[in-house]
């Protein structure tokens, strides 16, 4: 196997608050290969954005990677100084599509000037070269080249989004981190956005780290994924593995809590309770308090993340993962709905 592009290994992230620390992320590990689209899913507050920000050195000043390593192309980056990171990694290697893509452009400056400004920081390009490059990218994301000198307000919402995609591609990065890029959008705008992101696969060598609470978006857009709960990675694997054979109770319930337009009559699962506040050191499974199958052990120690059936990509952090298949099917049967496996085996009929 070739060397992964990004390796996050046993990372802890702590925020120092006035009175106590918050352990936002505990022992998180995942890898993204070159050209891989990777989804990081979980509820708000599960630590997924924090984890992503640690990769781009965007943590708030009171947050830090307190343990573990983050490697990009084999090189440790978590301890790089801001200056080194800016010079070597930021935007040239890893760039960002922020959450509120539509509001992320400076309203008082032309798009071309904003591109020049970013290029100036990280490269020795001439202004002309930066603008030419932006024009190229406008073409790729489906915006007329002539409009690079427009101001953001002259663009519609969807166009602004595409302009932000172009900005993030400006210095030809190998990895883009998209942090809840579609959360505030209507379905059609969301779909237009995802269409462009998906289209980039054919255009260039690009990996994507997509952060979202919407498991459906990940299932559709990504090759691999990780599910996070309460600062821990509950389960990771290819999207097909996670969909077909989920082995963490949270993944199973989360998946079942999503509406599927093809089956409007299906009951939706409700996950009761909320994750713990993470004030003390996390040495237990953070899902235990909400888990229908939790045992004493789950409250007392942190389950290790283990590969499933010798499978390299699929790994689960649950003491009872081996029993989960039967436990879950029992549960899903009692609430009267088909389980994911069964559906998959039957094979779907596509609506369109």
């Amino acid at each position: 196997m070739t060397e992964p592009l990004l390796e996050v290994e046993n990372v802890d992230i702590t925020y120092r608050m006035d009175s106590e620390d918050v352990h936002a992320v505990t022992n998180a590990s995942f890898e993204i290969g070159a050209n891989e689209y990777f989804g990081l899913v979980g509820e708000s507050g599960c630590g997924k954005s924090t984890l992503a920000k640690s990769v781009i050195k965007g943590l708030d000043s009171n947050g830090e990677v307190s343990a573990g390593t983050i490697r990009y192309k084999g090189r440790e980056i978590q301890d790089l100084s801001e200056k080194e990171y800016n010079k070597e990694i930021r935007w040239k290697e890893i760039s960002v599509i922020p959450q509120a893509a539509m509001n992320s452009l400076n309203p008082l400056a032309k798009l071309s000037d904003q591109a020049i400004e970013i290029a100036n920081v990280h490269t020795d390009w001439s202004a002309e070269k930066s603008v030419d490059r932006l024009k190229e990218l406008f073409d790729i994301v489906g915006l007329p080249e002539s409009r690079v000198t427009d101001y953001p307000h002259q663009f519609s919402g969807g166009m602004k989004q595409r302009a932000i995609i172009a900005m993030s591609l400006l210095l030809n990065p190998s990895l883009i981190i998209a942090d809840e890029p579609t959360t505030a959008l209507d379905v059609i705008m969301q779909d237009q956005f995802l269409k462009h992101i998906d289209g980039l696969r054919d255009e260039r060598d690009l990996a994507l780290l997509l952060i979202t609470h919407d498991i459906a978006v990940v299932f559709e857009t990504c090759d691999s994924m990780a599910v996070m709960h309460g600062g821990q990675i509950a389960e990771k694997g290819t999207t097909k593995e996670i969909f077909s054979t989920p082995r963490h109770p949270y993944t199973i319930l989360l998946q079942q809590s999503f509406p599927d337009a093809r089956h409007p009559d299906r009951e939706l699962e409700v996950i009761e309770g909320s994750p713990p506040a993470l004030r003390e050191e996390v040495d237990y499974c953070t899902f235990a308090s909400r888990c229908p199958w939790a045992e004493q052990e789950c409250q007392e120690s942190l389950p290790p993340i283990e590969s499933m059936n010798g499978n390299d990509s699929h790994a689960v952090s649950c003491f009872r993962s081996d029993e989960m298949e039967s436990l879950a099917s029992e549960h899903l049967n009692t609430i009267g709905r088909p389980q994911a496996n069964a559906i998959e085996n039957e094979g779907y009929e596509d609506d369109d």
Binding site: W91, P98, S104, I118
Partner: protein, 327 residues
């Protein structure tokens, strides 16, 4: 529509507005209680004197003719004669006007500069104790009546410490030395008289720019694009520059209105400091019912506000691309 066309149109509207205000003042002064001739003559004039005044001022003519003469005089730059000094209003008002402007314009500009910088400082430190309590001093200064601040400064720095003169614009000796009025501005005596009224105005007008800049900086700082600029690696100096440009927009809007407020507030400050400016002049003119002078001072203030807004509008189209000029 091109910007030029917009400016021309905007200028046209400005001229119309000034025309309207000047006409309004004509009507307002005619509507004031009492016969206009009596108003002009001041108290205790005999009926023959009044008739004489009516004749010489053209008050026997029909109102529209009076209005025509009034407007014609204004347009040709002749606002009449002060009947207190019998001097043409223009030359009568010139020196006090200069005295006032030299005091108020720099003071307002300094107040806005210091206020904006201070407000920006508060805004960038939002969430800290400095931000929470730092707005108190300018608030206190801004909400205290300006004459009170003036008296306080006089008590401390003139009466108690004796650092600055008590009032006036210059001592008698200085007046005696200079050949023309404007030479006073070049003497050190003038500037030592200048410090306290200047400080009073600065203190009074710090408050609004500081408050608005603070809010504006907090607002802009919270906008998503500032996060994007940070994550894209723009150096903090560049980001600060963008932040300041964007945040200062509402403060700029405030400037002409605040200057007008300052000019109207001059009456009190100039009285406290015995400053021979248009505030004092207006006060005296109202007491002596010197209508042509009052009328002219009103017109000047109105024109200042109208032109100030024109300048701000034009400035906006340059600095803020979102201000679109509609077809």
């Amino acid at each position: 529509m091109s910007k030029i066309k917009y400016y021309i149109r905007r200028l046209f509207v400005t001229v119309l507005l000034i025309f309207g205000v000047v006409s309004f003042l004509f009507i307002a002064f005619r509507l004031m209680p009492g016969d206009y001739a009596t108003t002009l003559a001041g108290g205790g004039a005999s009926s023959s004197e009044l008739e004489e005044i009516r004749e010489s001022w053209g008050l026997n003519e029909p109102l529209y003719m009076q209005y025509y003469h009034y407007m014609a005089n204004m347009v040709t730059g002749d606002p009449g004669t002060s009947h207190v000094s019998n001097e043409p209003v223009l030359s009568y008002v010139r020196a006090p006007l200069m005295n006032s402007l030299i005091l108020v314009i720099p003071a307002i500009l300094v107040a806005f500069t210091i206020g904006s910088i201070y407000g920006a400082l508060l805004g960038t430190k939002s969430g800290t104790a400095f931000e929470r309590y730092g707005i108190l001093p300018p608030t206190l200064a801004g909400t205290t009546p300006n004459f009170f601040i003036g008296i306080l400064l006089l008590l401390i720095f003139s009466s108690a410490l004796g650092w600055f003169p008590v009032g006036g614009m210059a001592g008698y000796e200085t007046y005696a030395e200079v050949e023309s009025h404007y030479e006073i501005y070049l003497t050190t005596d003038f500037w030592s008289h200048y410090v306290l009224p200047f400080t009073t105005i600065v203190l009074t007008f710090l408050y609004y720019p500081a408050l608005i800049m603070r809010g504006s900086v907090i607002d802009v700082k919270g906008q998503e694009y500032t996060y994007f600029q940070r994550i894209a690696g723009l150096p903090s100096k560049t980001r600060f520059k963008h932040l300041m440009k964007h945040s200062s927009l509402p403060v700029i809007t405030l400037l002409p209105a605040q200057t007008a407020t300052a000019i109207s507030g001059l009456v009190l400050i100039e009285t406290v400091f015995n400053w021979p400016g248009i505030g004092t002049l207006l006060f005296d003119s109202v007491l002596s019912r010197d209508t042509p002078v009052i009328q002219f001072l009103f017109i000047i203030v109105a024109i200042w506000i109208i032109f100030g807004n024109l300048i701000v509008d034009i400035f906006y189209t340059v600095i803020d691309p979102r201000i679109t000029i509609e077809d």
